[in-house]
C-alpha cells in the first residue's frame, strides 16, 4: 500500500456515507494503520449530497484539510452522478467505485470524460438480498476495502466480524446478514475491463474478477 | 416540612431573640423597605441551619457587600444582574454532589435563598429564574419588589404600577406616567407548578412574611416568594410611613396576601372593607399627578384594574 491512501466518499445525507467512512477508518485502525475519517460538515439535512473523507497511512496523519486529489472516489448513490462532479481531482492511477446495477461501460458516459478505472457494485441488490433492506453503505465499505487494497480480504472480514460482534451484541442475528453483505460485495465488485493500466495495488481485485467473468 | 415549624406558635418575642443574620453597617438608604423584608425572611431560617444567600445586582447587593464590608452572616454570592436563579442552582447542585461524594457530613444542613429586586427578577433575570424554577432546584427565590429600577435611579420596570411617575415614564404635559399595567409575576411563577409560591409584604407583626419565608425555605424543591418592599425614594412618601403604606397596599387589595401550595391557591387575607385605591396612591409622590383635577378617570382606571385582578384572585382561590 502506498504511503497515504486518500478516499473521498459521495453520498446523500442519511445514507450512511459518513458512517461508512468512519467504519473504514475503524477497521483500518484495527489492522494497525493510522487513520482519518471525517465528513465535510454543513447544515445539510436528509437527502442532500454530502462528502466524507478517509486518509489511511502507515504514519501519523497531520494534514487537516479536505481531500482534493483522492486516490479513490466512492459513490454511494449513483443519482449523484448527474449533479456532482464526483471525479474532480481523482488521480489518474486511482479509481472510482460506484453503487449501481449498471455496467461500468454504461456508467462511464456519465463521468464527463473520465478515463480512469471504474468499479461497480450493486450495493442495493446485495443489501436487500442479505439484509432485507437497502443499507448501501455496508456493501460499499467492502467494495472500497477490496479495491483500494489497504488490507487483505481475510484481515478485513475478520475485523468486521469482530466489530459487528461488539456492535450487535444485543441482536447477533443481524451479524450473519451483514457479513454476507460484506463478503458478497468484496467479491462481486467489478472493474471496467476496457481499461488496462491497472496498478499493482489492484492486481488481486482484477485477478478475482477475471475468474468471475470467466 | 410541617414538623417543628416555628410559625405554629409564632411570637415576635422569640423571633426577635434569634441571632441577626443581616448585620448592621450596610449602606442601604435610611428607611429602606428591602432590608426590613430581608431580615424577616432570614428569621425564617431555623437556628443551626446554614444558608448560602444569592443576590442579583441591585440596591441590596451593592449596599450589603461593599468590600471589605459584608452585612451577611451566612455565605453569600453575588454574580451579576440577570442570573441569580442560575447562580444559586449551581450552588445547590454543588451541595447535592458534595453530599453524594461524602465531602459534606449528614448533619451539615444548608438552605439556599436568593434575593433579587423586580429588575433582576421580573425583567432581566426572568429567564434565569424560570429555568431554575423549572429544573426543580431546592431553593427559594425571593423578589423584593419595589416597583422600579431603584438602584439605577427609579426607571420603570414591568413591576411598576400603571401611571407611576418614574425617570423613564415621567408624567408631563402629555404623559400620565407609565402606560402599562404591571406584570403579575407571582401568578407566572405559580404557573410553573413549583411546590410553593407566596406573595407577602411587611405587616405589623410580620407573621405572614415569617410563615411564608419559613414555609418556602423548608419546602423541598423550588419556592418563590414575592415580597412588596416600598422604596421611600422611588415612591416619594414620608420615610417613616412605610408600614402604613404596606397596610394600605393590602387593604386596597393592590397587593393581596396569598400563597399557592402544590398548585392550590389560598387567599390569606380578605379586608373587611376593601379601601378605595386612592388611599394607597395618595401618600405617594409618584402618583401625585393623578390627583390633579381632571385626572379622576385615571384613578378610576387604576381601580378597575385592581378590582379585576382581585376578583380573578378570589376566583382562583375559590376553585
Amino acid at each position: 500500500m502506498k504511503k497515504t491512501v486518500e478516499i473521498r466518499w459521495h453520498g446523500r445525507g442519511g445514507q450512511g456515507a459518513k458512517t461508512a467512512a468512519l467504519l473504514l477508518a475503524d477497521v483500518a485502525f484495527k489492522t494497525g494503520r493510522c487513520v482519518q475519517g471525517f465528513p465535510e460538515y454543513g447544515p445539510e439535512r436528509m437527502g442532500a449530497p454530502i462528502t466524507a473523507f478517509n486518509r489511511i497511512s502507515e504514519d501519523r496523519i497531520r494534514v487537516h484539510s479536505n481531500i482534493y486529489d483522492p486516490d479513490y472516489v466512492v459513490v454511494v448513490d449513483e443519482t449523484l452522478l448527474h449533479s456532482v462532479h464526483v471525479t474532480d481531482g481523482l488521480k489518474k492511477d486511482g479509481a472510482i467505485i460506484i453503487n449501481t446495477p449498471r455496467s461500468a461501460r454504461e456508467i462511464r458516459g456519465l463521468l464527463r470524460g473520465y478515463e480512469g478505472r471504474i468499479f461497480t457494485v450493486d450495493a442495493r441488490q446485495i443489501s436487500e438480498e442479505t439484509l432485507g433492506r437497502n443499507f448501501p453503505n455496508t456493501p460499499m465499505l467492502a467494495a472500497t476495502a477490496a479495491v483500494c487494497g489497504v488490507m487483505d480480504r481475510k484481515e478485513f472480514l475478520g475485523e468486521m466480524q469482530a466489530s459487528f460482534a461488539h456492535k450487535f451484541a444485543k441482536k447477533p442475528e443481524v451479524i450473519k446478514g451483514n457479513m454476507a453483505a460484506l463478503e458478497m460485495a468484496y467479491d462481486k465488485v467489478e472493474m471496467d475491463m476496457t481499461k488496462t493500466n491497472v496498478s499493482p495495488v489492484n492486481q488481486k481485485a482484477t485477478a478475482k474478477q477475471m475468474k468471475q467473468s470467466a | 416540612m410541617g414538623l417543628n415549624m416555628e410559625t405554629k406558635n409564632y411570637s415576635l418575642k422569640t423571633m426577635m431573640e434569634k441571632p441577626e443574620r443581616l448585620a448592621p453597617g450596610h449602606r442601604m438608604c435610611a428607611g429602606c423597605g428591602a432590608t426590613i423584608g430581608v431580615r424577616a425572611v432570614l428569621r425564617g431560617l431555623h437556628e443551626g441551619d446554614h444558608a448560602v444567600i444569592g443576590n442579583a445586582t441591585g440596591c441590596l447587593e451593592v449596599s450589603s457587600y461593599m468590600y471589605p464590608y459584608s452585612a451577611w452572616e451566612d455565605s453569600y454570592i453575588h454574580n451579576a444582574f440577570e442570573n441569580a436563579g442560575a447562580t444559586l442552582s449551581g450552588v445547590e447542585t454543588a451541595y447535592k454532589v458534595l453530599k453524594k461524594k461524602g465531602r459534606l457530613g449528614e448533619k451539615d444542613q444548608f438552605k439556599f435563598i436568593t434575593f433579587g429586586g423586580d429588575g433582576g427578577t421580573y425583567d432581566i433575570g426572568f429567564q434565569s429564574l424560570s429555568g431554575a424554577m423549572e429544573r426543580g432546584h431546592d431553593m427559594v427565590y425571593v423578589c423584593y419588589d419595589n416597583g422600579a429600577y431603584m438602584n439605577t435611579g427609579i426607571q420603570r420596570s414591568s413591576a411598576t404600577p400603571m401611571f407611576a411617575d418614574t425617570t423613564t415614564t415621567p408624567s408631563g404635559k402629555v404623559s400620565n406616567g407609565k402606560v402599562q399595567y404591571r406584570k403579575d409575576l407571582s401568578s407566572i411563577i405559580a404557573e410553573h407548578y413549583v411546590p410553593y409560591v407566596a406573595q407577602s409584604t411587611l405587616t405589623r407583626d410580620f407573621k405572614d412574611l415569617h410563615r411564608k419565608a419559613e414555609t418556602a425555605i423548608y419546602t423541598e424543591g423550588p419556592a418563590f416568594l414575592n415580597m412588596m418592599t416600598p422604596c421611600p425614594r422611588g415612591w416619594r412618601y414620608e420615610t417613616s410611613e412605610i408600614m402604613e403604606i404596606c397596610r394600605l397596599a393590602v387593604e386596597t387589595c393592590y397587593w393581596p396576601l396569598f400563597e399557592v401550595v402544590e398548585g392550590k391557591w389560598i387567599l390569606n387575607y380578605e379586608p373587611k372593607h376593601k379601601l378605595p385605591i386612592e388611599e394607597f396612591l395618595k401618600p405617594q409622590g409618584r402618583f401625585k399627578h393623578l390627583f390633579k383635577p381632571g385626572n379622576e378617570e385615571l384613578i378610576a382606571l387604576f381601580q378597575k384594574e385592581v378590582d379585576k385582578r382581585w376578583e380573578d384572585l378570589q376566583y382562583r382561590c375559590a376553585r
Binding site: - | 448585620a23 448592621p24 435610611a30 426590613i36 459584608s70 408600614m243
Partner: protein, 102 residues
C-alpha cells in the same frame, strides 16, 4: 486563613487584598458606622416602653437589639435615624430628636 478586615484599607497594597476580593468572614459591616449618616435620632423612653417589640423588626439597620425578650437601647453606631420605629410604637415611647446625639 480567615479574613481580618482591620488589615484591609484604602492604603493596602494590591498584594494585601483577599483573592478575588472574597471575604472569609461574615458580618464585617458591623465595623462600618452608618450611625454617622443620622440627622434625626430616636430616643427611647424606658418608662413608656411596654416591650411589645413591634419596633424591632421594622428597623432596616438591625439597630434595635433584643435580649431576654426585651429590647435594649438603640445601636447608635448604626441607626440611620429613619424614624420608622417611632412611627410604629403604639405607646409613644420613641421620639425623634433632631441631630445626631440622643
Amino acid at each position: 486563613m480567615r479574613t481580618d478586615i482591620t488589615n484591609i484599607n484604602e492604603r493596602s497594597p494590591y498584594t494585601d487584598l483577599t483573592e478575588g476580593l472574597q471575604l472569609y468572614a461574615g458580618g464585617t459591616s458591623r465595623l462600618f458606622m452608618t450611625g454617622e449618616w443620622r440627622t434625626n435620632t430616636p430616643v427611647l423612653d424606658q418608662d413608656k416602653c411596654r416591650q411589645c417589640l413591634l419596633c424591632a423588626p421594622v428597623c432596616p439597620d438591625s439597630s434595635i437589639p433584643v435580649r431576654g425578650g426585651k429590647r435594649l437601647d438603640f445601636d447608635y453606631d448604626h441607626c440611620k435615624g429613619c424614624g420608622i420605629c417611632a412611627k410604629v410604637c403604639p405607646f409613644g415611647a420613641i421620639t425623634m430628636k433632631e441631630g445626631i446625639e440622643a
